[in-house]
Amino acid sequence: MATSTAEPTRRDMLYIATGAATAVATGAAIWPFIAQMNPDASTLALSSTELDIGAIPEGQIVTVKWRGKPVFVRHRTKKEIEEAENVQLSQLPDPQADSARVKKPEWLVVIGICTHLGCIPLGHQGAYDGWFCPCHGSVYDTSGRIRQGPAPRNLDVPDYAFLTDTKIKIG
């Protein structure tokens, strides 16, 4: 088999074009196989939950499921609200005012997932009477803010809205 050296540039161009076209086509073909793992249309359609909060007595926490995760809805007492509001922000690992975390002071809505490694904290426990995570000892206050332990962030607040005085829609 002899090797030809004629027209090296045209030959190289053809090889480069073929290689590039193959790479682009392969990339395009792979995308659907990655995208299929994203939430499907039926999952996206279920992304809001409505909750009647009229029946939750003061001081109680109700847990509802939203997108497969627990959401804590806490009807806070006067004392709890005061505790949450009268904290010096400089004392907090993740400084955030209580007013920035609630829409109405009596109602705290947070995602019930410890920001450390995803366990569900227990309510009305820990030194700040907020939540205590049994997995690794993170302690949250009555505003769901991290006070002690390994968790890096406050409990997340989901998107929610008051439809009426006694009804909220999460998501």
């Binding site: 088999m1 659907p32 196989f33 995208a35 299929q36 793992m37 499907d40 249309a41 999952t43």
Partner: protein, 415 residues
């Protein structure tokens, strides 16, 4: 796979790795410098096409398994969920269902090519038989996969095929009950078929590895049917020559595949499989997928339950025995004028059986199927052994280079 490699990695890390696990050298000797007969035509690209289809089926299948539920109450719904809600689910499912058909189309062409050019003859008997094993595994995989959507054809196809085992004397009923995990095709059956349908493709991958290994030991056959004698004159390196030619074949085959997937995705399927399985109602006309039709016709042609099953499996046993049934010393049909005609008659016979398999078993169709079934076996058991003794082959070229020199392999001039 073709003996010790002379491959030496360029980098120090490469050499370090290679001296501990010579995988690069194995790839290099098997798929780069491996000497490929230079007279291979496009029918030889179907090996690469089949490898591509196997990977495509496994990838789409693994993805579908992420969304599918093997439960009689949920299977049909989960397939519709894939078709409607999962991102690109409709495409992946159509790729997989039509991919099965394309896989069989390619394997039938691959088998026919082997039969035409005598690729089963010594020293390629083991290579050929491994191919038959792959074919059998493919049939088992495809059959179980077809059950998974849990439509009417899924259910009744599963019922009919598993009932074949009741034909076995004495233990048939016990085996069938064991297969079903109950007293009919039901949830345990579906669940185990799903498990096995996931397992078998990886067994196919293993046997394909052996098939390629055997191929690289004995070397590729070619249209002239003579072995490589002089590597310089008779062969080209596998890469880039064969790889590029295979790529052309794969691209063209993909166009056919995608035509079916995107424009006639339900053409090869049965409308009844869009009706959820109903164990209380058999559809008026049970037909397997097209790739099983010739065997289905043989099954129905024999007026005895056990006999039908024996002949159907016997049709595949013929393939296993083929290397010894063909007594001719010449490999390629190019140099066997009578065999060439008989080959095409045989192909027509199998196509005819396939057509009859799709027709209701009434009237003339039954008799026609019997005649063609008889011919199928006569071809293997009578014609091929006798033909080798009586046929006068044309002169076979001395070498591949010789065959190429005299106007290509297809029409060798008389020397």
């Amino acid at each position: 796979m073709s003996g010790p490699s002379t491959y030496v990695p360029k980098s120090a890390i490469g050499r370090w790795f290679e001296s501990r696990l010579p995988v690069m050298g194995l790839m290099h000797s098997s798929f780069v410098v491996y000497p490929t007969p230079k007279n291979l035509n496009y029918w030889w690209t179907f090996g690469a096409i089949l490898s591509f289809m196997l990977v495509a089926q496994i990838v789409t299948g693994v993805v579908l398994a992420m969304h599918y539920t093997p439960n009689t109450g949920l299977a049909f719904d989960s397939v519709e969920h894939i078709m409607r809600d999962v991102n690109w689910g409709w495409m992946i499912r159509y790729l997989h269902s039509n991919g099965a058909s394309m896989f069989f189309l390619a394997v039938y062409i691959h088998i026919a090519r082997g039969m035409y050019y005598g690729s089963y003859k010594a020293p390629r008997e083991i290579l050929w038989i491994l191919g038959v094993v792959i074919f059998l595994l493919m049939m088992a995989t495809a059959f179980m996969g077809y059950v998974l959507p849990w439509g009417q054809m899924s259910f009744w196809g599963a019922t009919v095929i598993t009932n074949l085992f009741t034909a076995i004397p004495f233990v048939g009923d016990a085996i069938t009950t064991w297969l079903w995990g109950g007293y009919s095709v039901d949830n345990p059956t579906l669940n185990r078929f799903f498990s096995l349908h996931y397992l078998l493709p990886f067994m196919i991958v293993g046997v394909v590895g052996l098939h390629v290994w055997a191929l690289h030991v004995v070397g590729q056959n070619n249209p002239a049917g003579v072995d490589i004698k002089d590597v310089e004159k008779d062969s080209v390196p596998f890469t880039p020559h064969a790889t590029m030619k295979d790529s052309v074949g794969i691209a063209l085959f993909l166009m056919l595949y995608c035509w079916f997937v995107f424009f006639v995705p339900n053409y090869l399927g049965d409308p009844d499989n869009y009706i959820v399985a109903n164990p209380m109602l058999t559809p008026p006309h049970i037909v397997p997928e097209w790739y099983f039709l010739p065997f289905y016709a043989i099954l129905r042609a024999i007026p005895s339950k056990l006999g039908g099953v024996i002949f159907m499996f016997g049709a595949i046993v013929m393939l296993v025995l083929l290397p010894w049934l063909d007594t001719s010393r010449v490999r390629s049909a190019v140099y066997r004028p009578v065999f060439k005609i008989l080959f095409w008659v045989f192909i027509a016979c199998v196509v005819g059986l396939g057509y009859l398999g799709s027709q209701p078993p009434e009237g003339g169709a039954v008799l026609a199927a019997r005649i063609l079934t008889a011919y199928y076996f006569i071809h293997f058991l009578v014609l091929l052994p006798l033909l080798g003794l009586f046929e006068t082959p044309k002169p076979v070229p001395a070498s591949i280079a010789d065959a190429v020199l005299h106007g290509g392999a297809a029409e060798p001039a008389k020397a």
